[in-house]
């Protein structure tokens, strides 16, 4: 436990010291909430207030940006720079290290989600989620699944130089197709079909249902199952292919 807390503190220091990463993963969803909100926040989307509707999308986008994209970038860069390999030569157990990295990025996402909800409440007069327990369950389920997929992604990204291009090329289109920025009802059928199998669309739907329509997580077990299935898939890939050592040169 002492080692876990020691590493968790270090991970927090490292995350906030890395300005670019903190901006693109933590701050950007908040910036987008203001930007998109100013574009169509005052309109009605699917019968609800635009700010309210957008909040679910931004929380889902935040989950993908931090626990999927951010985590994958952190781990690839550390692997390729030899930091992970060096840690293997210390008494810090590998599982403790991974647990601390996960706890750190999930905590960052939860903070981001809470800030989004508070901005919505204070600036746009959006009511707080009626079921805070459901909200918390969705945040933890979603971030755990995306973190597993983020670690899985590190197994296919070969170099630090290309990592941010590859990661962005995956998670930005996914966020778009999943309806993080706009209501996906207006998308062509093919795009909607793709979106419907992606975990982010289910995450966003869950967030919306809980934030906007005051339902609970128990009313949407299909979405929960899809997200969990993706998480298990990510976990299996991660367990099979995760490497501590940089690519051979």
């Amino acid at each position: 436990m002492r080692l876990f807390l020691h590493q968790l503190r270090a991970e927090q220091l490292l995350f906030w010291r890395s300005r670019e990463l903190a901006f693109f993963t933590f701050l950007l969803p908040i910036v987008f909430y203001f930007l998109l909100g100013s574009a169509y926040g005052d309109e009605e989307v699917n019968g609800v207030d635009g700010y309210k509707y957008l909040l679910g999308g931004m929380i889902g986008y935040g989950a993908a940006a931090t626990t999927f994209a951010g985590l994958a970038l952190i781990l690839v860069i550390r692997r390729e720079s030899g930091v992970l390999k060096r840690l293997r030569a210390t008494p810090l157990p590998g599982h403790t290290y991974i647990e601390a990295v996960l706890a750190s990025i999930i905590a960052i996402f939860v903070l981001e989600a809470v800030i989004l909800v508070l901005i919505a409440r204070v600036a746009y007069d959006v009511a707080l989620p009626s079921s805070l327990i459901s909200f918390a369950v969705v945040l933890l389920l979603g971030s755990a699944a995306f973190a597993a997929l983020g670690i899985a992604l590190t197994t296919v990204v070969k170099s630090a130089e290309g990592s941010s291009a590859v990661v962005n090329a995956i998670y930005l289109p996914v966020a778009f197709i999943s309806g993080a920025f706009f209501a996906e009802d207006t998308f062509p059928a093919a795009l909607r079909a793709i979106g419907s199998i992606l975990p982010l669309s289910h995450m966003i739907r869950l967030c919306r249902d809980i934030v906007v329509y005051d339902s609970t997580v128990w009313d949407h077990l299909t979405d929960v199952a899809v997200i969990a299935a993706w998480g298990v898939f990510g976990l299996l890939v991660a367990l099979r292919g995760f490497r501590w050592e940089p690519r051979e040169r």
Binding site: L3, H6, Q7, A10, L13, L14, R17, S18, S81, G82, V83, K85, R86, R88, A89, T90, P91, L92, P93, E245, P246, R249
Partner: protein, 285 residues
């Protein structure tokens, strides 16, 4: 007890034999130099000892433990300076040392390590502002923070200018004086000669010579006597330099010649090393 014992060690990558059955040992408290050109198998050998790679055959004991069955306690007793690799650009020297100190139950005081590796002036600087040599010293500091008994230094001074190299050598001598056992790999002969109590020369995965640097020189090929006669260079290699010189000089005195440019030359460790490794083609390690 020996700090490291290696016998019959073999390792191949995709059918290419990188290490072909080598034996050596490190006595506790000595500096042991593993010499060889790039691709000779140095890093493979060291990474097997550090527990990073699995061997194909042979027996390895590092501090009495098989590195393939390493545990936390064992890792606390070794220090590793890898050949390449970065640290965190956004953390300072002190933050790195505190971070790594936290991994050990009995870490060496951070200030002491800063002094030991000579980074007092840069203690509060972020790693991205350090020079290459300063980063390398921090690598060493990170490896020393757990106060290890055995330290692996994989090409610790590659890319250093001569001044920085001498400073690094002094640090390594200080570590030896503290009673540490050190395994040093290098392709700089002078480095091995300056630091190592004993060396082994690796060539294509095999040890082709081992012993103290003085042993290698003493056991090496003959003495070379050379001079010029009628503008032609005459070179005589001999196991009996005294007799050869006596004959040459007494003849010259009788005939009233001068032996122009007379030299008697013992091979240096570098020449011995080069003759041992000369037909090694360069292969990636």
């Amino acid at each position: 007890m020996n700090a490291v014992e290696v016998s019959g060690l073999q390792k191949a990558y995709d059918g290419v034999e990188a290490v072909r059955g080598i034996d050596f040992e490190l006595r506790t408290g000595e500096v042991f130099g593993l010499l060889g050109p790039n691709g000779a198998g140095k890093t493979t050998t060291v990474e097997i000892l550090e527990g990073y790679r699995q061997r194909d055959a042979g027996d390895v004991r590092v501090l009495g433990v098989d590195p393939e069955r390493d545990g936390r306690d064992w890792r606390a007793r070794i220090g590793v300076v890898p050949q390449e690799g970065e640290l965190f650009p956004t953390l300072t020297v002190l933050e790195h040392l505190r971070l790594f100190a936290g991994y050990y139950d009995r870490a060496r005081p951070v200030d002491e390590v800063v002094r030991l590796v000579g980074l007092e002036e840069k203690a509060e600087s972020k790693v991205r502002t350090l020079s290459g040599g300063q980063k390398r010293r921090l690598d060493l500091g990170v490896a020393l923070i757990g106060d290890p008994e055995l330290i692996f230094l994989d090409e610790p001074t590659t890319g250093f200018d001569p001044g920085a190299r001498r400073a690094a050598w002094q640090t390594i001598r200080n570590l030896r004086a503290l009673g540490k056992t050190i395994l040093l790999t290098t392709h700089y002969i002078e480095e091995a000669q300056q630091l190592a109590d004993r060396v082994a020369v690796l060539r294509r995965g095999e040890i082709v010579a081992s012993g103290t640097p003085a042993d290698l020189i003493a056991g090496a090929a003959s003495t070379v006597v050379s001079f010029r006669r009628n503008g032609e260079e005459v070179v005589i290699e001999t196991e009996e330099p005294t007799r050869v010189l006596h004959e040459l000089t007494s003849q010259a005195l009788q005939n009233g010649h001068e032996l122009v440019g007379l030299e008697v030359h013992r091979p240096t460790l570098e020449e011995i090393y080069l003759s041992l490794t000369e037909d090694q083609e360069t292969r990636p390690e």
